[in-house]
């Protein structure tokens, strides 16, 4: 992350890390999660799911486990959980 100044306690603060899970076949391809993830973790995949939509895929390791995609998804198709060990 880029800061305009480095916070004094940046060495001590633990940044939460998350792993996002996508239940592909539930997705209806609305794109809410892709558009509004604060860390731009998601993008449309090229593949089709069982319903014929393009589900999102993870494009980087920046997930913060903020659960916003999970709250916004109308289909119960995406959720995040804490990731440890990085």
């Amino acid at each position: 992350m880029k800061y305009w100044r480095v916070p004094l306690d940046s060495g001590e603060i633990q940044i939460t890390r998350g792993r996002v899970h996508i239940i592909e076949d539930r997705c209806k391809g609305c794109g809410y999660c892709i558009e509004y993830c604060p860390r731009e973790v998601l993008e449309f995949s090229k593949k089709f799911n069982a319903k014929g939509y393009h589900p999102p895929q993870v494009k980087n390791e920046d997930c913060l486990n903020c659960h916003y995609c999970e709250l916004l998804c109308p289909e119960f198709a995406i959720y995040s959980e804490a990731a440890f060990g990085q």
Partner: protein
């Protein structure tokens, strides 16, 4: 079978959803599922056991909510969610009664029930998914359709003025009034949680896109509607209900506007009409 990273894992709300009915009927890009998810999250956040809740819906796309929640719920006739919910509350005041329905259901055919339940401070949490139209029946003009907006029955634009729902709720006597959009999912979930935990008639309006029957006619794709929710809204807690008309050109005000303490209908009724029977115990203590 293809490799599934999520095999054996479950979405955290699966215990609150009738998973055998998923996928639900809501169209791709419809916001109702997001409002519903915030509502279920709020139920979970209260930490109250699920058997102390019930959900009531009327008819409409939004009215399907009651059919998807995995607790005792009622899918009632059109416009009558509030009378059913009031009956439940009077018979079982211990239950947390949530009404989840659309603007057409709650404010057109059901408008009278709404104002009287608010007047009586019936202890309900009323969540209105406001998509500015009758989604289910093909996008007819609603009591909430903005002036000049197109609908299947106002092809040249709506000639009428829509309701300001928070003002209507406040004027009728609602003791808690708030408005969010489905994009403000975290604020919305916290607001619904607060409304469930308090006593009295709580009204939460949630703006939500109907891309199929409203967006299409008004040249608005679902993500464009969400962009308006993001760019053209102002959070102003405590704003006067008179300044809350929905006009995205001026900016739509969101937040919690009203939160007042007042005895509820079931409390006052019980105190006046069902005083505790005299027993040898309480006679002695007199």
């Amino acid at each position: 079978m293809k490799h599934d990273e999520t095999a054996g894992m479950a979405h955290p709300l699966e215990d609150l959803v009738r998973m055998d009915r998923i996928p639900h009927i809501w169209c791709p890009g419809c916001g109702i599922g997001s409002v519903f998810t915030s509502c279920l999250t709020a139920v979970k956040q209260t930490n109250i056991p699920y058997n102390q809740f019930t959900m009531v819906s009327g008819i409409g796309c939004s009215g399907r909510g009651a059919g998807y929640i995995n607790i005792d719920s009622f899918h009632t006739t059109h416009g009558r969610a509030i009378p059913f919910a009031s009956g439940i509350k009077m018979a079982r005041p211990d239950l947390n009664v949530i009404v989840f329905s659309g603007d057409g259901d709650l404010f057109a055919i059901g408008g009278n029930h709404f104002i009287h339940a608010a007047r009586r401070n019936m202890d309900l949490t009323v969540i209105c998914v406001n998509n500015l139209t009758y989604g289910m029946t093909g996008g007819q003009v609603a009591a909430t359709t903005p002036f000049k907006a197109r609908s299947s029955t106002t092809a040249l634009g709506n000639p009428d003025t829509p309701f300001n729902l928070p003002l209507l709720a406040y004027a009728s006597g609602a003791t808690y009034v708030a408005r969010w959009t489905m994009l403000h999912a975290r604020d919305l979930a916290d607001c619904i949680q607060e409304a469930i935990l308090r006593r009295g008639f709580s009204f939460i309006e949630v703006l939500s896109p109907c891309p199929i029957n409203y967006g299409r006619r008004n040249r608005e794709k679902t993500l464009e509607t969400l962009k308006k929710y993001h760019d053209n809204t102002i959070v102003k807690n405590g704003a006067s209900p008179t300044e809350l008309e929905v006009d995205f050109n001026k900016g739509v005000i969101l937040g919690k506007f009203i939160d007042i303490e007042k005895p509820t209908c079931d409390e006052v009724y019980r105190r006046m009409y069902r005083p505790p029977e005299e027993t040898t115990e309480n006679r002695k203590s007199r």
